[in-house]
Symmetry: C2
């Protein structure tokens, strides 16, 4: 069976160009005892992966040069040599960027339901959804009538954050790039207001959109977009810090320091990783699935087709060329 992989050819400087990735044909490894051969079907690209491309200590191990990149995958069991799994089972887990992976069965989980679009297990029902749920409810703690602002609001995490905040009775303002994404927030996702950070009057429009100030700011982007948000924090505001995508491709990320603003507002700012909420993961999965079923949470997805589109799809995250969760479909095996 032909196999293929995409490895990290060199560490990027700025937005990863083509030279960072190398396509390779490799052998497929037959599954040993307790192992599964899994065909990748949907592969997720996520902003946090940019950090793993640097050779710097962080919460996740750096990717190694000449070894495959890796991320969340929905796949189909092509050959099971493990108890509890059968050929044709649909599974999800963090796997190398290979068309066929041979891994211990403990590496993956069966998807709980194949009635929903399977790529949801890479977005609302997967890591991004859990990130939104855990960060917003544990750190942001939106209360009825409060104002919640979320940046990268049409993205995989931001879109779920805003919709959960609406379910909790908050007034929700989303920040996104360009009129199309902003319109999507209010027309399709039920946000109260959308603000375009690319517009010349961004600062004024943001101020108008939060007449009562900001009680929760779910931080996804950092940079000058967020600097404006910090001017409107209410007393005891909460700021779950999920991401800072504006900084991931730059060596220096300078701007106004937040200290005086946090003091004035007595605000709480907390960095988090989805893993710290793992004790509540089952509850989160069930709740998110229920909200999707009830039509309370909608998911937008951008699908690139073809294994060779992985580098382009990954770059879309930083250029804003995707709309909603960016996924790559690499096989028709589950159509």
């Amino acid at each position: 069976m032909n196999n293929e992989q995409i490895v990290l050819a060199k560490r990027p400087d700025g937005v990863p160009g083509d030279e960072v990735f190398r396509y390779e044909e490799v052998e497929t490894v037959p599954p040993g005892d307790g192992e599964l051969l899994i065909e990748s079907v949907y592969i997720s690209v996520d902003p946090y992966m940019r950090g793993r491309m640097n050779d710097a200590k962080s919460y996740a191990e750096p990717f190694r040069i000449d070894e495959p990149l890796a991320g969340h995958v929905v796949g189909k069991v092509a050959e099971s040599n493990a108890d509890g799994f059968e050929d044709g089972d649909v599974v999800t887990g963090a796997l190398p960027w290979k068309r066929f992976n041979t891994v211990p069965s403990s590496t993956v989980d069966k998807v709980p339901s194949t009635e929903v679009p399977l790529y949801l297990y890479l977005s609302t029902l997967g890591m991004p959804g859990h990130t939104a749920y855990g960060g917003l409810l544990n750190i942001g703690k939106p209360q009825e009538g409060e104002t919640v602002v979320v940046s990268a609001a049409s993205g995989a995490v931001g879109s779920v954050v805003g919709q959960i905040a609406k379910i909790k009775g908050a007034r929700v303002v989303g920040i996104a790039g360009g009129p199309e994404k902003v319109k999507h927030l209010t027309d399709n996702l039920g946000f109260d207001e959308g603000v375009d950070y690319k517009a010349e009057d961004y600062a004024e429009r943001l101020a108008e959109a939060v007449p009562d100030g900001i009680d929760v700011y779910f931080e996804n982007v950092g940079g000058s977009v967020s600097d404006e948000v910090f001017n409107h924090l209410n007393r005891f505001a909460r700021i779950p810090v999920c991401g800072a995508i504006s900084a991931y491709n730059s060596k220096e990320d300078n701007g106004p320091r937040v200290q005086t603003k946090l003091i004035k507002s007595q605000a709480l700012m907390q960095g988090f990783l989805v893993g710290q909420f793992k004790d509540d993961a089952k509850e989160a999965s069930e709740q998110l699935a229920k909200w999707i079923e009830e039509g309370k949470i909608k998911s937008e997805v951008s699908i690139e087709e073809g294994f060779d589109k992985l580098p382009k799809a990954f770059r879309n995250l930083f250029t804003g060329d995707n709309f909603g969760k960016q996924i790559v479909k690499v096989s028709d095996a589950l159509d």
Copy 2:
């Protein structure tokens, strides 16, 4: 009776120069029903007052032009016209910068004990002590064996923070300016290490002083001194943000943004004001008094003498020319 006051002549640009203050002779007002005439004895100057000199909305009202500045005072009741107070009582409260204030008796509290140096009610037993106690124990939550770093460590708040952290069993590293202050931290206050932020090798010395990283950073200064601290945060570090004195006299306070560092460390950063811990103020007062009595908390004080020294004393806070809590003694009435 001659009276005098110091008013805000104009709003400062940068460190307040002499032109910001104006000395005036005024009439003493006799106390009406329920009022006290109080002679100021010790007047406190504190960094937060710089914020009130700007014409900007913040947690405290801006000082008004041509009206007296104000701050915490220990004084002696010169004439009581209120139940529960007698001539000669020692009181403390937030009062205008006047030699004699005539105020409702509810404006001040009697000092609980005159057995300790009375200026302690402006430092460890006053607002700075309560700030240290509330911020460190409610937000910082130092655990035995953890590493606590505090900036402006020889100052009114920082010196108490470090000593409480030692009582709680933490390893304590203080950051201060100049070899004399740094030596004071280890020799007199019992800190484990002192680091001089004015030294050329500040970054290296800080790194050496925190071999196990930083679990609690009590933020008093902001700016480039703190930027270095953020490179050493441990997982789930806590950062009570008490002050950012480096920013108080500048219009722009730019530097590395903290978002990516908070995510990597899953750290919590929280601005606070001492008032939010007011429900625990009685407990804090009793505990601080007990620690002072037991010799576990020592207080350093810089006393300027003379009512006309108030502007100079206030400027000392920003030049670092004070050592420990800066106080102005304006009367011998309690000697």
